[in-house]
Amino acid sequence: METFIAFWNILKKDIKNYYLKPPNISWGIIFPLSWTLMQLIRSSGNIDVIELLPGLMAMSILFGTTSMLAVTITFEKRSKSFDRLLLAPISLSTLVAAKILGAILFGIINAFVPVVFMGFLINLSGINWAVVLMAVILIAITSALLGLLVAVSVKEVFEAQTLSNFFRFPMLFLCGLFLPIDKLPAALKPISFCLPLTYGTDMLNSAIIHNSYFSILFSIFIIIVFIIILFYLCRRNIEKKWIL
């Protein structure tokens, strides 16, 4: 019960302090939206608009989640208020879980922003929503862990943003968000297969445009393996970096 009170209040504070602040909402919304518009204008007539949706959703989650953790963790570490959380009589895992749950929820909500907008433009029936939700959750979890790994490794917020961009932008192109993976040059394909987002996006493709590279179960399995590895890496780094 005590742990739950602490957990819930950490999450609530982050939502109030960070997630509902205009600059962060804009990161999550404006960026994916402008990207959508750009794609729409560029591709007018050539492709089916719905084909853009999986990539947009994946991108919204990736950017929303990773940028939030750069703030909720790196910023608090920097201002030393994070020490208060480390001093609380709750386990490191509880603390980390509370911190990333906020980012995961934020990512999930972000994912549906493009869905709502697309809903005005096109007919969204025929989408397998259960798989969509599953994919969104899995992408959000991996992105959050990736963001956490970055946040733990750096000291300044801008470093966190720079380092995550180093991962994020290549992922936009390598993970099949806007360029199908079978059209990637052969040399880049192995890299693509090493990135968890590839499998999440593939699941979205399967559910939304019914065209996927892997089977859904295979993707889920791979993503879960990634989650376990990332979780382990984060834990190890946290123990090393947070308690000096």
């Binding site: 209040n9 950490i10 208060r84 001093l87 009589p89 000096l244």
Partner: protein, 321 residues
Amino acid sequence: MQKNVEIVKVTNLKKLYGDLPAVNGISFSIKEGEILGLLGPNGAGKTSTINMMIGLSRPSSGQIMIDGIDAIKDIKKVQRIIGVVPDENNLYGEMSGFDNLCFCASLYGMGKEEREKQAKELLKQFGLTKAADRPFGTYSKGMKRKLTIAAGIIHNPKILFLDEPTTGIDVESTRQIRELILNLKKQGTTILMTTHYIEEAERTCDRIAFMVRGEIVKVGTVRELMENIDHEYKIKLQLDNCLEELKVELENKFPSYRIEVLAKNSCLIISKEQVPLSPILQVLDEKGVSVYEAKGIKPSLEDVFVRITGIDATKLEKVGR
């Protein structure tokens, strides 16, 4: 309230940052209900010591026992019963004073009603009720310090760690904070505080540990620390004349005294033994020098500190409070 139980026991504690021994094998203990002061200049290793005891940093070697719990193995258990006031005011700038306190209480699992009641109570006690709904970031330095202290004690810790509670705070706020610390002691809280103010240590702490360059060079009550050194007796004289020319003559006449001319009209007579005044007064009278005032000067804790540590006391800040 002080009992004879050692509630905190630190043995051979060491912390290396690279090659630098920030804390170099210190040992000390704190009795239940006692206030122990760690007094030392910047960089002595005070904060490093506290950080190891509260679980923000890992000792390179040594042991820490807190209330019968091994603090290195079981820090989360220890964290339940301790409160920490860090040297920096690290509450959340965008949250109000009230919300900050409630949040800190929630980290210890306190229910909503209880934490709001405690928060209101503390805000009142610290004279911050009016500022309760303002963001912490808009507080003045003194207000920030007080709220940070309030946040450290909102869950009624058994043992409190105070890192420089009054640095950079005005006289009135310092007095309030000192009273608060003494009140906590009355309620039975055990306190470890660090400071570089000799006077603060002297007024607040039951025992003081002098810390220099990562080592504790001496621990004791103020009285024990004072007794420990062979101090000199000093008498300060106020005269109507300068003593410069008479210095040698006086020293020849009273070979066991040392004379220090301070300012134009005053001097210091220093001796290993008590100084009987009348022979001196007589000599001065013969020379036509009048004495208006004679004052015995007690050795101060500052002298003791300087003597024991060999460190210039100006390295510690001096404030008249």
